[in-house]
């Protein structure tokens, strides 16, 4: 139990996917202009990451390892994740229009997101059990959501500040992202691993 909690906290704060592993930077910069959309994106990523962790774990241990073709991991995972996201999108659109309204526009954006693929590969590298994989996925996704929302809040405030002309837009966003990442380095001593 303590082990699982450590994995969860470690994935959210210490090894935050965006701020210390630098995975999923494109939605981090692209969809972080408003807190509302950042939260929507975070929810969609949480949803997809958890499902992807489950499916890729089965692919790895029931198909790739028995046939001795671990070197095809990347392509197999991308294939599965991309079609999975498409499937989820269709099912959600049909069964729950409300959820589709909230997550729908973000789902196609994360079909081949590097954070999702990175998570699947890390799960295998760290030799996590099935339950540990799911917890790690949840932690990673929550960490991603946390980083997105914090960053979007900062950007909303920066929009109202008198930023020097040459720093406006992406430049100040990148500087802010760097500072936020630096702040997260402070968690490094919290959990080992």
């Amino acid at each position: 139990m303590t082990e699982l909690l450590l994995i969860l906290v470690g994935a959210i704060f210490v090894n935050n996917f965006v701020l210390s592993r630098f995975l999923g930077i494109c939605p981090f910069l692209g969809v972080s202009k408003k807190v509302e959309t950042a939260l929507g994106m975070g929810m969609a990523v949480t949803f997809v990451m958890t499902i992807a962790a489950v499916v890729t774990w089965f692919i790895q241990y029931f198909i790739l390892i028995p046939f001795g073709i671990e070197y095809l991991q990347t392509i197999a995972f991308i294939l599965v994740i991309a079609s999975l996201v498409q499937l989820v999108e269709m099912v959600v659109q049909k069964t729950s229009p409300v959820l589709y309204q909230a997550l729908g526009i973000f789902l196609p954006l994360i079909t081949t997101n590097c954070a999702v693929l990175g998570l699947a590969v890390l799960n295998i590298q760290k030799e996590y059990s099935f339950l540990e994989s799911v917890i790690f996925a949840l932690g990673a996704a929550l960490g991603f959501t946390l980083a997105m929302v914090l960053f979007a809040g900062l950007r909303e405030r920066i929009d109202l500040s008198p930023v020097p002309a040459s720093f406006r837009g992406t430049a100040i966003a990148l500087v802010t992202a760097g500072l936020l990442s630096l702040a997260f380095m402070g968690f490094a001593g919290l959990v080992k691993g």
Binding site: L79, V80, L84, M90, T95, P162
Partner: protein, 282 residues
């Protein structure tokens, strides 16, 4: 080798079949008119129609819940296309543009205090009702210019918002963004406006603004049907806009402006190219 080809091919085939079946099983029927409507609309997602974005408006029209004439940015041509798709008559409203009813930039209207806060009119308005002595004038911090999806609003060097009559599509975003309600929607054909938004008495207006309306009634006396004075502020009666031009020259503070003769001072916009014929012009 064979295992690799077979298993990856198998996964791919399985995914393809699953997606193919799901596409049929979970297909959501979309009204073909809705798709046609969505292509017709401008795609600016400005919200002038009152719906969240073009796709929501297209759906509402296709379901018969919304009038086809609500897309103001699209104007007459979009209305005709929507009416054609929906098979109804194109009954429209006259096109409208937004006008900033103020000429009191930092050179002509006096400041109440020196404002050093966030560059945002809403934030400035919260501090002692704004940094200008005038209770209704443009604060000049550009909140409207930033929300305009069409880049139709410029801020002059002296801090006054000016809206281009050619670029403005009438989406009303700026009207909602302005904390002082200084932006009004007016008919596109009407080019004469009283550019003042202060309801203070004449003597008070004179003290803080060189170009404010002092409610002297001269415009009303010159063209009685085209002007109305409410609470010490003159307004053009837009039903009679054709006659309103006669009072432009008579106004002692020059706060009545005909946009055909030029935008407020400091603006880089060229005057509208198509002058509207005025009846009763002197």
């Amino acid at each position: 080798m064979i295992e690799a080809v077979l298993s990856i091919g198998g996964i791919g085939l399985l995914a393809a079949i699953t997606l193919g079946v799901a596409a049929r099983k979970f297909a959501v029927e979309v009204d073909p008119r809705e798709l046609a409507l969505l292509e017709t609309l401008s795609g600016a997602n400005c919200g002038a129609c009152g719906y969240p974005g073009c796709s929501a408006y297209a759906r509402a029209v296709a379901e018969g819940k919304a009038e086809p004439s609500l897309c103001t940015p699209g104007g007459q041509s979009t209305l005709e296309k929507i009416a054609h798709i929906m098979g109804v008559a194109a009954v429209g409203t006259s096109p409208q543009v937004a006008v900033v009813l103020c000429q009191g930039d930092n050179a002509r209207a006096q400041a109440k205090y020196r404002y050093l806060g966030a560059i945002d009119c809403v934030a400035a308005q919260r501090i002692a009702d704004g940094p200008k002595l005038c209770p209704g004038g443009c604060l000049g911090l550009g909140t409207c210019a930033r929300v305009c999806p069409f880049g139709a609003i410029e801020m002059t060097a002296e801090g006054l918002a000016v809206i281009s009559r050619e670029k403005c599509t009438g989406c009303r975003k700026c009207v909602g963004a302005c904390p002082r309600q200084v932006i009004a929607m007016t008919p596109l054909d009407a080019t004469v406006h009283v550019l003042c938004n202060s309801h203070d008495k004449g003597a008070a207006v004179r003290k803080y603004c060189q170009v404010g309306c002092i409610a002297c009634m001269i415009c009303k006396k010159t063209v009685p049907e085209a002007y109305v004075i409410e609470d010490f502020l003159a307004k053009v009666v837009y039903d009679h806009y054709q006659e309103s031009g006669a009072a432009v020259e008579k106004c002692p503070t020059r706060c009545i402006r005909d946009f055909v003769e030029g935008y407020p001072e400091g603006s880089r916009f060229a005057p509208p190219v198509v002058p509207v014929k005025r009846q009763g012009a002197v």
